[in-house]
Amino acid sequence: MKDVWTIYKRELASYFSQPIAYAIIVIFLLLAMVFTFTLGNFIEAGDASLTYSFFLYLPFILMVLVPAVGMRLISEELRSGTLELVGTYPISLWAVIVGKFKAAATVWLLAIALTFPIWITVNWLGEPDNLAILSGYIGATLLACTFLAITLLVSAFTRDQVICLIVSSAICIGLVFATFDPFVRQYSKTLAPDVKDAITSLGVWDHYLSLARGAFRLQDFVWFASIILASLFGTSAILSAKRA
């Protein structure tokens, strides 16, 4: 546990000693607000809820920006050879993976938390269901962590950060668009309803939007947790296999 903390502190310091974390947080906040006030019709809709004005658009932003934060996770260690140092320290590989993942997740937690002015605004203008908003924020954080875990797994395969960015973004974009409602309506015309439901429940929207609407369902947490844990275990397995 102490090892995880040591790795975590180093990683987090490295994010904030370089421009990357600041740049991505600023771009994220800008895009989130642009979407909210244009496509989201935040003002015109007159709805004291953030579900369809704000949370609905976050997956489109996160699917490309999260891999940009995570692309250096293992790739950088592979490229610079520091994994050889870390691999000979008296700590477990698991502590390294978890520590690095938590640090990147913290960057995203901060980025998402910094959208708080929209929460203040909606409370100023109306009387929203603040528990539903909290649930939406939990959903957004879990979604960022899920994309981050996927990026972590991809980054264990390559020492090239650009390849990691492209591949992990592609996977995240696939997860988002494959079950995006307008697309689903197109391709599900010929499919049985059960098949359509099965496909929908594999993608992001079913699980994310239920949280954004304020519904706590067990299957959503299982979906997020299983992708995150599978990716972390996969990363550990790949790194062990690479050494052998």
Binding site: S14, Q18, L85, T88, P90
Partner: protein
């Protein structure tokens, strides 16, 4: 358990087997490597290699490029698992108890990898924390390592602004933080200027009095300058083992280079 110990040893093990018995023998070597083998696919990088390093001994690891020196060191430090064989550091098996064994090792990898976004002091503090040091012990360890490796001038500098010599010494400092009993140095003088080479050799010699050191090199004069014993490795096997004086005597011409060329396979000949 009724089997007499001596008879048991005579039947099952050779009398010189340093691994006989499950308990840690206080006089056994700090680094014990037996029948170490590493295969990458069909290629055998290290082939039944055995050696040991005692406390107070500096073992020079010589050999042409691709002889398996770095692979052996990576296995001894627990970074890559061997295909077969046994490795013990201070009596602890690296394969069975990696976490425990790694505590006794300081390792300088060949490329001297470092986190470029950190300062020298920041990096050493991180290394000390990972080694379980905290508070004043951590501070003292970092200060001592900076002093030992002459890093005072760059202590606050960011690592990506360092010259190659300073990078190497920062990585060496990292290996010394926890005052390990065993030092594994992969080409510690590679890329240094003659002054720095001299300093590092002096350092190895000094540290070698109280530790067990295994270091690899291409520079044959280093054998005489720093080693108490040297082995020449070729195609994953030890071909020569002895003190620098014995090696020179063995060469017949008084030159280590001649011996090296006699016993190792050259790139031009290995194709046959």
């Amino acid at each position: 358990m009724a089997v007499p110990l001596v008879a048991h040893m005579g039947r099952r093990r050779t009398p010189f087997d340093p691994f006989s018995g499950p308990t840690f023998h206080p006089f056994s070597a700090m680094i014990e490597v037996e029948n170490l083998t590493k295969q990458f696919g069909s290629k055998t990088a290290v082939n039944h290699l055995s050696f040991s390093v005692q406390k107070g001994e500096v073992l020079g690891f010589l050999g042409p490029n691709g002889a398996g020196k770095s692979t052996t060191m990576r296995m001894v430090t627990g970074f890559i698992p061997p295909t077969s064989g046994a490795i013990r550091i201070c009596g602890v098996s690296v394969i069975d108890h990696p976490k425990e064994a790694k505590k006794h090792i300081g390792y300088l990898p060949e490329s001297a990898p470092l986190y470029n976004d950190m300062t020298v002091t920041g990096f050493l503090k991180f290394g000390a924390a990972i080694r379980g040091l905290s508070g004043s012990a951590k501070k003292e360890a970092v200060e001592r390592a900076i002093e030992t490796c002459f890093l005072q001038n760059v202590a606050r500098q960011s690592i990506d602004t360092l010259s190659k010599g300073y990078r190497h010494r920062t990585c060496l400092a990292q290996a010394l933080l926890h005052d390990p009993e065993v030092l594994i140095l992969d080409e510690p003088t590679d890329g240094l200027d003659p002054n720095q080479k001299h300093e590092v050799r002096q350092l190895i010699r000094r540290l070698g009095k109280t530790k067990a050191i295994l270091f690899s090199t291409h520079i044959l004069e280093e054998v005489e300058a720093a080693c108490s014993r040297a082995v020449i490795v070729d195609r994953g096997q030890i071909v020569v083992d002895g003190t620098p004086q014995e090696l020179i005597a063995k060469s017949g011409t008084g030159s280590l280079t001649d011996l090296f060329r006699q016993v190792t396979t050259r790139d031009t000949a290995s194709a046959a």
